[in-house]
């Protein structure tokens, strides 16, 4: 009798662990790779495992995390958004231009700039989505077009110059650190990620994002309009580009038409390393956060290790691939766990 109870508790415990492992693996399985990388650098790189260093990594991670959060939505519906980098550039120059306009009080300027930056991003994102859906075009090429257009616009708006002199309250907020370790811009990024996570997991909209990524035609034939949701998803990606632009301004205090070059690939890499499938329908935004961490930790860790500038890209490229290879074993492991 007691033996059977023992067995039951054991079984329950085993199940509990199974479940825990399974859930954490599902949401952020690539975290294993991150932990390995963190362990490696903590052991080898001087000053790596210090609070100050983590604070700095948090700062460095924020922009890509925000961009990648929006990108996760796009990739989940099976699209891609190459325009986020230059949308960011455009939004930084628009935001900065408004902020340094002497006609406004600092606070007015800040509020207006945030609205304009996020509005511009969202509007152009919506244009991306609308064109894709209206003519049924691949988002790759539409957003590639937008990449060029937005980068041209950024040059025109800024007249090719770096814009400085942002209002003091704004700069101060950018320097703020919460609880001694979390910089304000990191908090923004985390809030964005949490909202994204919540939306994807708990809302009807999130359900549609996954459903459309899995089988758009089935969603359409179930009496819905995937079109709307897809446009919304691109709008979100544009919006996060606008938010990322604000984060950029908070971090660097300058708006620049050449900001954000190549950021789209970084954001996409974070999403994919995080386990979201490029063909849509599968993935998690928490994974994206982990993916962004991997990319930045690698780069910072290598610098602290004193790696040669030429060797760095080689190591980063190799580790990106190793991380996804490791992640592929997670899939197998999960299958094994489940067939037990």
């Amino acid at each position: 009798m007691s033996a059977s109870i023992e067995k039951q508790t054991e079984a329950k415990e085993a199940r509990f662990w199974d479940k825990l492992i399974r859930i954490s693996m599902k949401e952020a399985g690539v975290a294993i790779a991150l932990i390995l990388i963190l362990a490696f650098f903590s052991a080898t790189a001087p000053y790596f495992a210090t609070p100050e260093n983590f604070l700095k990594i948090f700062v460095q991670i924020a922009i890509n995390t925000v961009l990648a959060a929006g990108m996760t939505f796009v990739i989940l519906v099976g699209g891609i958004d190459l325009s986020v980098g230059s949308l960011l550039a455009l939004c930084t120059v628009i935001g900065a231009t408004i902020m340094i306009n002497p006609a406004f009080s600092p606070w007015q300027a800040i509020v207006l700039a945030c609205l304009a930056s996020m509005g511009t991003g969202a509007a152009l994102g919506a244009v991306n989505g609308w064109i894709c859906e209206k003519w049924k075009l691949p988002s790759f090429i539409v957003t590639l077009g937008m990449l060029n257009v937005a980068s041209g616009l950024a040059r025109v708006v800024s007249d090719n110059s770096t814009i400085t002199g942002l209002p003091q309250p704004f700069v101060d907020f950018g320097n703020l650190i919460f609880w001694g370790i979390f910089p304000s811009i990191f908090m923004i990024a985390i809030v964005v990620v949490l909202i994204g996570w919540f939306v994807l997991r708990y809302t009807v909209f999130g359900r549609f994002v996954f459903a459309i990524g899995t089988n758009e035609e089935a969603v359409r034939l179930s009496g819905h309009q995937p079109k709307r949701y897809k446009i919304a998803v691109f709008t979100i990606s544009g919006l996060t580009a606008g938010i990322a632009a604000m984060v950029y301004l908070l971090r660097l205090n300058v708006g620049s038409p050449v900001a954000g070059i190549g950021y789209e690939l970084n954001a996409i890499a974070a999403v994919i390393i995080g386990g979201t499938s490029l063909s849509g329908g599968k993935g998690s935004i928490i994974g994206t956060l982990v993916g962004a961490c991997i990319l930045q930790v690698l780069s910072t860790g290598l610098q602290l290790l004193g790696a040669d500038d030429n060797i760095k890209p080689i190591v980063i490229g190799a580790v990106i691939v190793l991380a996804v290879i490791l992640d592929s074993y997670r899939g197998r492991l999960m299958r094994i766990l489940e067939t037990r």
Binding site: V204, R207, F210, T214, G223, H224, Q225, K282
Partner: protein, 506 residues
């Protein structure tokens, strides 16, 4: 010993196969006699396709071993299966839609010269094969232009073009009408004369007597019996399959009173040049649409539902004209359509049963845009119970479901929505007898609730069993309408051929 090896072309011993959360096959041992027509039966999810996938080299068994033609047989890939002489026509179609019919047919070994495709030889050979299965399309047609049934015929033709010792057919007739089925059986007979063994799976129990000598029944992944078919009757077989006696499902229960019009269609034109279609479905009435493969039934119901743009036509629901330009309009107005192709159009395969079932009406399980998990689980739990969907959990991805259970999920999602008029395109495609009976009960229940039901099916006996009225399509036109009292198989068939024979005459 050597005798037995001579008699049996295939022997399975203690075969087991597990998937995440399911045991698909458990300790299955069976033999198939050389040169025999062997029928494999079982409910949905009994493990038939799994067994066949093991034979075809798609999966590997977890336990047990296989002897084929006297030799141990453990195929690691479809190629090894081909080499050993086993060919499989899979239940799920895998067309190369951007390639031509000829290329699809001969893809296993494209006629080649110096690495170049010999198009001439390929098209000629393909034309022969198409002729043989009676599929009237040009070899150069793109496969994406074919309907499901036509693809099924291509799949059959494909298996014929190479010699094999064992031919496995996993529900080849699910989408075929009697014309093609007859053709197929002729072919199978010819193969049998050549000494080819066939392993045949079907849920249309009437037809197995035409092709089978022996029968094996699986239930819940376990072997139940293997014996000669002769002397067996359908009710007996059904009992073996489901493990209990089943009420006769053939009895017509559409005793609801038909009153008023639920769905009215007038002047529906699928394309600008296609003929006008007008028909109606009464409240409480089940109307069948019969016709040959490619007669335009699917096209008509898709256009009606707004899935494809229609060229013209007025649609009335409960007497009120409704504007339907998209599935959204249709669903909002109270129509629903269970599509012919459940995999591509009906289901989100990688999502859970619960998520699939509730996609039609997320409003019911959410408040302020937030999903109420408990409501979702409760509702889907109820649907799974009502429709007897076989699954370890409502959170299981429907990709892992057997074909029949997938079909039930499609029905579940529309049941969840609760429409006024239900349109089913091949609702029992690939569904076992037990489930069929359940689905018929459901249709009658819908009718009894005063809803209109429109059923497209290639299975004529089925239509005659469940409908109040049958509309017969022929070459895109409505060739005639027959009420229940006058149901007669040969009459329906002659209507279905009507337009085609007229074309011939010209």
């Amino acid at each position: 010993m050597s005798d037995a090896a001579d008699d049996d072309i295939l022997r399975l011993e203690g075969i087991g196969k597990r998937f995440p959360g399911v045991v698909a096959l458990k300790d299955v041992s069976m033999r198939i006699g050389r040169g025999k027509g062997h029928v494999l039966l079982g409910e949905n999810g009994a493990g038939k396709s799994t067994l066949i996938n093991l034979l075809g080299g798609v999966f590997r068994p977890d336990d047990g071993h296989i002897l084929f033609d006297g030799k141990p047989y453990h195929p690691a890939s479809p190629l090894e299966a081909f080499k050993a002489g086993i060919r499989v026509i899979h239940q799920e179609l895998h067309p190369l839609s951007n390639l031509t019919v000829a290329e699809n047919l001969l893809f296993e070994h494209l006629p080649r010269r110096y690495g170049l495709v010999n198009y001439k030889a390929m098209n000629a050979r393909a034309a022969e094969l198409l002729e043989e299965v009676g599929l009237d399309v040009a070899p150069t047609t793109l496969a994406s232009r074919l309907s499901v049934a036509q693809l099924q015929l291509v799949e059959i033709a494909k298996a014929l073009c190479y010699e094999s010792k064992l031919l496995v057919l996993d529900e080849p007739t699910a989408t075929l009408t009697s014309k093609e089925v007859d053709r197929l059986f002729e072919i199978l007979k010819r193969l049998k004369q050549r000494g080819v063994t066939t392993l045949y799976i079907s849920h249309r129990l009437e037809e197995i007597f035409d092709v089978g000598d022996d029968v094996t029944v699986l239930r819940d992944g376990q072997h139940v019996i293997t014996r000669p078919l002769s002397g067996l009757e359908i009710p007996e077989i059904v009992e073996l399959m489901v493990g209990r006696k089943l009420a006769d499902h053939g009895i017509f229960k559409g005793d609801s009173t038909v009153s008023g019009e639920a769905l009215g269609v007038s002047g529906l034109k699928v394309t600008r040049n296609s003929p006008e279609l007008s028909f109606s479905v009464g409240k409480g009435e089940i109307v069948g649409i019969a016709g040959l493969v490619g007669s335009g039934r699917t096209e008509a119901v898709r256009a009606l539902f707004g899935a494809d743009l229609k060229a013209a036509g007025e649609i009335r629901l409960n007497g009120e004209p409704v504007e339907i330009n998209s599935p959204k309009d249709a669903v909002a107005a109270g129509l629903c359509l269970a599509t012919e192709d459940r995999k591509m159009q009906g289901l989100m395969l990688d999502m859970s049963c619960a998520q699939n079932a509730t996609i039609t009406d997320l409003g019911k399980i959410s408040r302020n845009g937030l999903i109420n998990r408990k409501a979702e689980d409760d509702h889907s739990q109820r649907l799974v119970r009502e429709l007897r969907i076989k699954t370890p959990s409502i959170h299981q991805a429907v990709r892992t479901f057997s074909g029949g259970n997938q079909q039930k999920v499609v029905i579940a999602k529309w049941l969840f929505r609760g429409p006024k008029v239900l349109i089913f395109d091949e609702p029992t495609r690939g569904i076992d007898v037990g489930a069929k009976a359940e689905i018929y009960e459901l249709l009658w229940k819908f009718a009894a609730e005063g809803k209109g039901v429109l059923v497209v099916s290639s299975d004529l006996p089925e239509l005659m069993g469940i409908c109040h009225r049958i509309i017969v399509f022929s070459d895109g036109k409505i060739a005639g309408e027959i009420v229940r009292e006058q149901f007669d198989e040969s009459r329906i068939l002659s209507l279905a051929y009507k337009e085609y024979s007229r074309v011939r005459q010209h």
